[in-house]
Symmetry: C2
Subunit: 501 residues, 2 copies
């Protein structure tokens, strides 16, 4: 509730407060049963006398809009208004009205960290977005002009699958990476989040098992969880998903599908090794289970080319491939695609049509003109060079500043470095300390569907500039040392004078 | 299945066909259990000898990919492939895998009519899109350049609710129409279809009653039906929804919400009269039922200003308002908004975040720059002038050409004219005749949730130019006369020689 006091106004302060709360109740911003802030608290917030708030609340009570309850405070009333003819008006309780209350795991934690990361002076390793300075704004401006000069009929209409020439371009580009398709095998979406949403809507029924990596991207975790899937996490090692554990999970859980991000994984940076790719597809074929391959990062390889995608190896049509431009161009674009066997595309396109008809043609058309006119390969080379520098800066800084007992594996591509913390330095405790030191990251548990990950963190190296990366890791390492020092104090000291958390 | 014959190739024709079908099966485009086209039919389609197709199918059978069944034709086999180590590969049956099979009422009919409308020479009154030539392409190009020159951080990130300055602009514009809000009461969506999708996801549980007008927009009908709502249709008369019928429906069905398009309605062109607006809100207050007000057309009024929106009259926070730029700018933009009490916006924004994170910033940013720089009022005036001419052209042509017994009411705004057909001329029979005459429309039954509307049609007058409108109505009237004449023949003649449908 946002109340503004205007000291220049003629209206007394208590009337100003009364009027604004009254309006908030009428608009429905304050629902029936909701509690107003305690008088003393609101007075302090507004910098007014407590009596002023008491008077405002009395006026509201006189209006019949609120009721004071001993011990419970001041509550918005059930029957709070009368219309012209004296008949009771029943307000809407929007929370009770709702059909779905999907649980989004870790939403509050992520929100809190996002707020920390946005504070001035804080160096953020928490996000997952590309460096804004690498966005090809000039070439996009040129493409926008040419697209809107040609002013094709695309401004009016578009099939649910997306603009045909953009699908042609994607089919050709993916063909160069060994994926054979036609434009009819491609559906353009408003980004990977929508792709996952369509997949969840098309295939998940409550209590369906879904196999994911442990750890897995938070967006997929949240979306599948909200669809009430049972998430089965398969452990990872240096070569990616452990195949014997996958085989075991398949035989025990009969999942609806396997969801995997095999190349430069989020959050671990790991890559599924080529022999395991073949094994994974063999298992998918044996069990007749589809594989959802999420592949935002394979173009961002820093030590030689990435291994072939699962889709490139998919001889029997088991793989649904998800691509996105968010990491290669800019996230505000909201443009991704699904490449899959035609029957799957037909079903997904039908759901897409009911969801938002089709993806906006401004983003599709301008991107198509950009891709056809700009030097796409040079752009990707530029990204690879820039991000390789950032990865190297982070690895170098971890080597220089990191305390003993810190373990990590330098990723060969993508955006993330996964760190195992030393004993005595759990991620949650480090998070608080790092926040005070001006550096942000995501704790590993946010990505783990099995109870796990308390001693891991994910560091993003795509967003901050190389110098900031060095300074951020210095701060983070200092924060680790502080946590470890306190931990030692705690252990050594027989009777601590106060709790430290 | 798309098979191409290359007569210049060295490969025999039957091998070419065999290879392409084999690939389609391997890709999963042809699923297990699916039937191949009959040999004779495929031969005719490809312009080859039937024996060629027989030989191709024999090869596929030899591969174990298909089986011939007497009376059922040639079917894709269950166990159709063996991998390297001789283990069976189980293909995916995508149809069986699916979680949801939402029913989209009238989808096939609309698809068929859309295909007719797209044929060259056909004059279409079937669509619901604005005239492409009225799209402000030049001003949009200018706005795109300026937006991408300023290159704000918006390319990277955006809250789920949308760009704040665009919500500010909308709040101010709606304020001028009597709707008081702050930007926090607004959620930007990818168009009205997504707005309806979010509403359906947030509020509808299977078997919930939802009150709509009879007739109601097809998109809402389809979306609510797919969410398994029970749709209750309230009849309309010249003043819009009949209030006593609404009161009856409220008391009998206790609906989750009332969905209404009160101003220049789709499909009927009717406008809810001011006194009924007050009555509708009084009933919503009495029953504590939310009202979803869909308002794409109120800015397009041709005979003086539209009455105030329900939201402008909504003193107690019962109304969720849906707006869209699709009719005022261009449909490919995919940009709409929801204005509602803050608790409803919070819930819808959370669902939006899980659906597609946020609406693409290229469409949001370019549109904001356009709205801030272009003369929006002049653009709206231009639209009103152009569409008034088209409405008048349609009314004039109906007067001139229409057969006796035709009834309509000239709408005061929007895109549609609703016509009651004469006895003996049902819409389905007219549709076939009109198709032959080169004119397309939608039969009224596509919009009616109650079994009703067989003698009504919806004519769109926004898309075709005024001269084309005259010619289209001439063709349509001729088609009506033909249907009526055949009907008379039918009635007069004791023994018709053949059935005519």
């Amino acid at each position: 509730m946002d109340i503004r006091i205007d000291r220049a106004s003629d209206a007394p302060l208590y009337i100003q407060i009364h009027n604004q709360i009254r309006e908030a109740i009428r608009r429905g911003d304050l629902a029936t049963g909701q509690r107003l802030p305690p008088e003393r608290e609101l007075a302090a917030r507004l910098g007014v006398n407590r009596t002023t708030v008491v008077n405002a609340y009395r006026e509201l009570a006189a209006d019949g809009l609120v009721e004071a309850h001993v011990g419970r405070g001041t509550i918005v009333s059930q029957h709070w208004a009368e219309d012209g003819v004296g008949q009771a008006v029943r307000p809407i309780n929007w929370a009770q009205l709702s059909a779905v209350h999907p649980q989004w795991p870790h939403a509050a934690l992520v929100q809190e960290i996002a707020e920390l990361a946005a504070q001035p002076g804080v160096i953020s390793f928490a996000g997952g977005v590309p460096a804004p300075e690498l966005c090809p704004v000039d070439a996009f401006r040129q493409a926008a002009v040419e697209f809107l000069e040609s002013a094709p009929g695309w401004l009016a209409d578009c099939p649910a699958e997306g603009l045909y020439p953009l699908r042609q371009w994607l089919s050709a580009w993916m063909g160069a990476a060994g994926v054979h398709s036609t434009p009819d095998h491609i559906l353009i979406t408003t980004g990977a989040t929508q792709s996952l949403d369509l997949i969840a809507r098309a295939f998940i029924e409550p209590d369906d098992a879904v196999i994911v990596e442990n750890a897995t991207p938070l967006g997929a975790y949240q979306r599948f969880h909200a669809a009430r899937a049972r998430l089965i996490g398969v452990p990872l090692d240096g070569g990616g998903m452990r195949i014997e554990a996958l085989a075991d999970a398949l035989s025990r859980h009969r999942p609806k599908f396997i969801y995997t991000l095999p190349t430069f994984q989020n959050p671990t940076g790991l890559t599924l090794e080529p022999a395991r790719r073949t094994e994974l597809l063999r298992l998918a074929g044996e069990y007749g289970v589809p594989v959802i391959e999420d592949d935002p990062y394979s173009a961002l390889s820093y030590d030689g080319p990435a291994p072939p995608s699962l889709k490139a190896l998919d001889e029997h049509g088991h793989v649904i491939y998800l691509g996105t431009f968010s990491k290669l161009l800019f996230p505000g674009l909201r443009l991704g695609w699904i490449l899959a066997p035609r029957p799957a595309i037909e079903r997904l396109a039908r759901i897409k049509r009911g969801t938002d008809l089709f993806t906006g043609t401004l983003a599709q058309g301008i991107t198509l003109y950009y891709l056809e006119r700009a030097d796409w390969q040079s752009h990707l080379d530029k990204l690879r060079t820039a991000y390789r520098l950032r990865r190297d800066a982070m690895v170098e800084a971890l080597r220089r500043y990191g305390p003993p007992g810190l373990h990590w594996r330098a990723p060969q591509g993508g955006f993330y470095l996964w760190v195992n913390l030393p004993e005595g330095c759990p991620a949650r405790r480090l998070l608080a300390e790092a926040g005070r030191a001006g550096v942000a990251f995501l704790p590993g548990e946010a990505f783990c569907v099995e109870s796990d990950g308390q001693y891991t963190i994910r560091l993003n190296f795509s967003y901050a500039a190389p110098e900031a990366i060095g300074e951020g890791i210095r701060r983070l390492s200092q924060a680790m040392s502080n946590v470890l020092a306190r931990q030692r104090d705690w252990t050594d000291r027989p009777a601590p004078t106060r709790a430290i958390v």
